[in-house]
Structure formats: C-alpha cells, structure tokens
Assembly symmetry: none
C-alpha cells in the first residue's frame, strides 16, 4: 500500500509540474519559460522540478510525447475503424477541436512550438511530424482509392489542404486566445471545415 500510494503521489506531483509547464510554455514559449517560472507556477521549489524531470528539454519532450501519443492513438483508431473518409476526417477534426477545448495549452504548444517551429526541431521531432502527415495522407489516399475523393490532385496536396484548414482554425483561436463557446460553435466550425474541404467554396450554379 505504502509503495503504491507513494507512487501515486509521485505521479501527482509529476502531473502538477507537467501542467505548470504546459501553462508557462503556452504563456511565454519554450525559450522564455524559465524553470523557475514553472516551479513557481507549480507552487514548488526550484530544485524539485529536477527531481521529476532531468532537464528542461526532457520536460518539453514529455509534453510532446503526450501530444503525439494522443494524436497517434486517435489516428490509429480512425484508420482501423470501419468508417468512410468523411467520417474519418470528421473524427480528426473533432479530435483537434475537442483537445483544444479540454487542453488548450497542449494545442497551443503544438501549433506554436511544434507545428511551425524549425527552432525546436530536432530530427526525431521532425520524424513525428512526418509520421503524422503520412498517417493523415493514408486516410486521404484511401478515400481516393474508394473513389470518394478526387484523384486529379495528389493525395499529399489534399492532405495539406485538409490539415491546413484545421491548423489555421486552431492557430487563429490560439493566437487571439479564443475560447470555443459550447458545442454548437464547435460543431459549426467542424462542419465548415469538412464542408468546404469536400465541396469547395464556390457557389453552385444550381443553388
């Protein structure tokens, strides 16, 4: 009992620091977030952070791993599931928007420090990114094979279009620190992204 309760405590403190790091890195960016900021935010002493994480880089990696783990799990679920492309893409969109609601800092960091930052980009981090692109591209390509998506445009390009749309919605919300108000707004955004991606922005003549 003692051991497991201590283990739980250890986990808790780790999570405490983890969340404080999320907040501070979101607020100041990885570079400007000082270890002392994180410690203060977590309400603990300076040195204790180093009890739980080897160094700043490791703490950052822990955050990245959590992000990628969640995303890859979702992509695996989606890939394996028996959905058509529209549903799969819909799930992906939902995942991003849901995560943005439940863990805005996480998404913020993904957008600002991972998705677009060459600065923090070590090669293995780039690999994660490529894997993410590739998995999404696989979904798109499968849609093309099943004749659900146009084939006159490379799957890769369609992927850019799709993820670009998702990211920019998120980016803008991140940039202005916008909150998604309730489920309705989220659904409207999700629907818009999917709609335009699938059917385009052009006014149909027959409308």
């Amino acid at each position: 009992m003692k051991k497991s309760s201590a283990a739980i405590k250890k986990r808790d403190k780790e999570a405490l620091i983890f969340r404080a790091a999320l907040r501070m890195i979101k607020e100041k960016g990885f570079h400007k977030a000082r270890m002392s900021d994180i410690a203060r935010e977590a309400g603990i002493s300076y040195g204790l952070v180093y009890h739980y994480f080897n160094n700043k880089e490791d703490l950052f990696d822990a955050i990245l791993n959590r992000w990628w783990d969640g995303l890859f799990r979702l992509l695996a679920d989606v890939s394996e599931g028996d959905y058509d492309v529209h549903q799969k893409l819909s799930h992906i969109i939902d995942y991003f928007l849901d995560t943005y609601q439940s863990e805005p800092e996480m998404v913020n960091i993904f957008i600002t420090e991972i998705s677009r930052s060459t600065t923090n980009l070590t090669s293995y981090r780039l690999d994660y990114f490529k894997k993410f692109m590739a998995l999404t591209e696989a979904v798109i390509a499968e849609g093309q094979k099943r004749n659900l998506l146009r084939t006159d445009i490379k799957a890769r390009y369609l992927t850019y279009m799709f993820l670009g749309a998702v990211e920019t919605f998120l980016s803008t919300m991140v940039l202005v620190d916008q909150k998604i108000k309730g489920g309705t707004q989220k659904e409207r955004i999700a629907k818009s992204i999917l709609e335009v991606f699938l059917n385009g922005a052009k006014k149909q003549k027959t409308n």
Copy 2:
C-alpha cells in the same frame, strides 16, 4: 553629392545586416540567432550592428515591417484591381509562392516566427496579423456578395480555409527546407490550392 553617396552607403550596410539577419534568424530562429552571429554573417564587427539598428528587437521589427509592407501592398493592389475573386485569390497565392522562391528566409520567418508564434507576439504585431486576416476576409466577403462564393459559411471561416491551405503548403516546404523546382511545380501547387478551395475535394459523380 557626398551626403547622398554616404546615405547610399548607409543603406547598403543596413541592407547587408538585414539580409544577414534574415539568414541567421531563418537558420536558428529569432531567439537562438545571436547578434554576433548576424554580424559575422554580414562580415562586420558586432558593435556595428548597433549603429544601424537600436537593438535586436528593432532588427526583428524591421524584418516584420518589410514583410507586412510587401504583403499589404499586394493586398491593396489586389483589392483595388478589377479582378474577380478567383483571380484575386490566385494573385495572393502567387505572391506567397513567388516570395518563397525569391526570399525563402522571409517566408520562413513569417511562418515560424510570426504566423504561429505567440512568443514573439506583442500586441502591435498581433494587430498586423489581424489586419492581414481582415483584408483577406474582405476579398472573400466581396466574392460572397458577388455570388461567386457560397454564403452559407461565414466569410471568416472561408478565409481560414483559404489561408490555412496556403500556409500549410508553405509550412511543409519550410519545415523540410524544400525548394520549389521551376515554374511548373509552382503552378501545379497554386492550381491545386485554388481548385480544392473553390471546388472541394469530393469526387464529382458525373465525372
């Protein structure tokens, strides 16, 4: 005469430092690019940088201003010009892709340090970003008014879709340091973006 030639010299040296800063910030990011790196890259002593720019922040602002100036000029030209939406959007896409070809560092910095970075974001920098969004949105909204774009989706959302596509194409190229090979590839990318944005990714039944 002397004066003006001195002025030209001053301009030249300023430009020299400016370009060196572009390269270094692209390579290392704003935070990790040291003033001494920039000076070395420019082939001058690092004290001299301070003759031409008050400090690192100012140097960065100079870069941002040049970027925004170019972009706003383009948007102004496009807005005032007598084009339909498709052409206007096409011009915007071309501007980004052309600039990426002629000044890849500039676009790189826009993507990594401006577009997505909350870290470097002072409020006046955010204002520039909002203005950029607003101008693009105006183009889109005008397209809706002229019945060329669907109206069941907010102009803002369509704007996100459009810019998201552009940005993600650029981002990916930036991320892997990809060069655009010749005009054909550029045209194919431009066409893809516009095509999908306007007509969607869905395979048409009657095709």
Copy 3:
C-alpha cells in the same frame, strides 16, 4: 542484549557507508563524489547517510582519522620497538605497501586527497601531516644519532628523501591503478626503496 546488538548493527551500517565512501571517493575524488553516489554504492537511501554521519565533511574526516590512526599506531610500534633504523624504515615501507594491497582505496585517498591536496587542507589536517613527518623524522634522527645514517645532511631532508620515494612508488601505482602482483613484487619494491635510500644509486667502483 538488545542494545548491544543494535549497537553492532549500527556499527555495521556505519562500516557499510564508510566502505562505500572509500570506493566512491577513490573513484571520483572527494569533490565529485556525491552523497547520493555513496548512498547508492552502499545500497541505502541517501537520507540515511545523515543518520550516521553529520555531513560530507565528517564522513571524510572519519576516513582521514582511520588512516592516520593506523599510521600513527604503526609509527608508535616502530618507534618503541627495539629495531635498528634499517628495520624501522623497512617496517614503514611495508606498512604502506601492505595497506595498498589490502585497502587500495585508503592509500589512494591518502595520496590524492591528503598528501598533496591543499584544497582539502584545514589546519588540523595539516597538523596530522606535520605529526606524521615529525614521527618519521624522529626515526631518521635516531639513526643519525646511532651513527647509522649520515649526519652531513639534515634529518628533515633525509626524511623527505625517504618518504618521497615511498610516496612516489605508491603514487604511480595509484595513478595507473596498478595492482601489486603477489608478495615477490612487493618485496622487490620494498628492497629497492630501502637499498637506494641507504646506499644510493651510484655504481660502486669496486663492483
């Protein structure tokens, strides 16, 4: 009974830590040997070290005391014993070489951290060193008085010569972490030291 068995246990744990400290200090030096290293080496938690030793300095002192105690006991035995100088010096040499065989860490620490280190030198530690020198000098001086050693050179200088030889043999072995292989090598070394110290390095004419 309980008490004494507890006392024995206490002694045991103390000895455990002591030996671990010996090994780690030998390996890393006093400064670089962390309390946590010592605890890990001893197989206990690092808080526990502080139950047995007040602090790192005290732990170090415990080591020094053990060293000096052994050495002073030997010197006392030798001084009081009814040996001639040659035998006395021979015993001193043997003591060092024997200890190097049985407790190489101890000798290592003596050489690297005590004998030559002004860094770890508090004044009372210097006193020990002076006492050691003085006791050895007494042996030498007695040899001079008994007309067994030359008197045209100060006893102090002869002492330096003698101890210098012993120390350098040990130092070199310590430096390259050399093991003394068997009793023969030890005897040869001991003989060499004594021989050269007493009779010099010069080739005798009559040889």
Copy 4:
C-alpha cells in the same frame, strides 16, 4: 601598429587572467576556485574571462600546457646536452626549485592538481605525465648504460626514487607554503637530493 598594439593588449589581459587563475587555483584548488573569484582577482568583470578562455576547463588546460611546455623543453635541453648523468639530474632538480621560486603557484598546481590528482585526470593529461616519467627514465637508463648508475635496480624504480625525492621536497614546501630563502638554501636542498640519491643515506664505515 594599431593591430600589433591591440594584440599586445590582448596578450596582456590574457596573461592577467592567467596569473589570477594561477593564484586562485593555488589558493582554493581547481574545483573550488570559481570563475568569479578569478575575475575578481584579475580585477575584471565576470564575462570577460570568457572572452579570453572558452571555459574553466580550457583555462586550466592553458595552465597545464604552460607547465608541461616548460618542463619538456628543459628535459629536451638536458637530454640533448653533453652532460653526464649527475649534471643532468642536477639540472632537473634546479629547474623544479627555480620554478618554485619564480612561479610558486605553477609548481603548487603541478603538485596538487596534476601530479597526484586522479580527479582532474583526463586520459590526455595522464599521457603528459607518462611522457614526463619516460623522459626522466631515459636519462636514468642512459646513466646505467654508461655505468654511472647501479644496474641491479630497474631504471623505472630509480626514477621513482629520484622524482619522489624532488616532489616531496616541493610538496612539503607547497604544503606549508614555505619560501626558499635565497640561493644558499636552494643549493643545499639541491645538493642533498642529489647526494642522497647518488650515494645513499648510510653512514660510510670509513668515515
């Protein structure tokens, strides 16, 4: 002119820091001597030390290199010179004693941080030490070959005896921070070392 005078200034400041480092490392040892101590001792600001030396380790290496350079030069001179063994050994002794008079900190550091410290011992530093031993041994071995030194004891052991004597004289002086008073004391010490090393400590019967 300007350049060379600047170069001289640079050298001067470097030497200033070098000497301050010598003093502080002598006083506190390499580990306890802080970079800030050295800067203060040199009368300059903290960061300037890093203008002249990359880091603490480099500063230490600069000291070591100066020491070994001097010593190896002496040994080369001695080896190549047309002296007999006695004179050669005499020159080596003189070098140590002279250096101790002119640069006591240097010798102190050699004794405390190099000669006996396994802590600061990287492999290339050990190599220097071995080279030093080997060069001295070569002198001794040559003496044996020319029938000037006894051959019944390994050259290596004789070398230990010789260097041990020198080092212990120096060590003791270093330990008690003793100054060599004038040339006479130095000569007496030098004579004692050589005398005892060559002819031994034993009282000659025929005296």
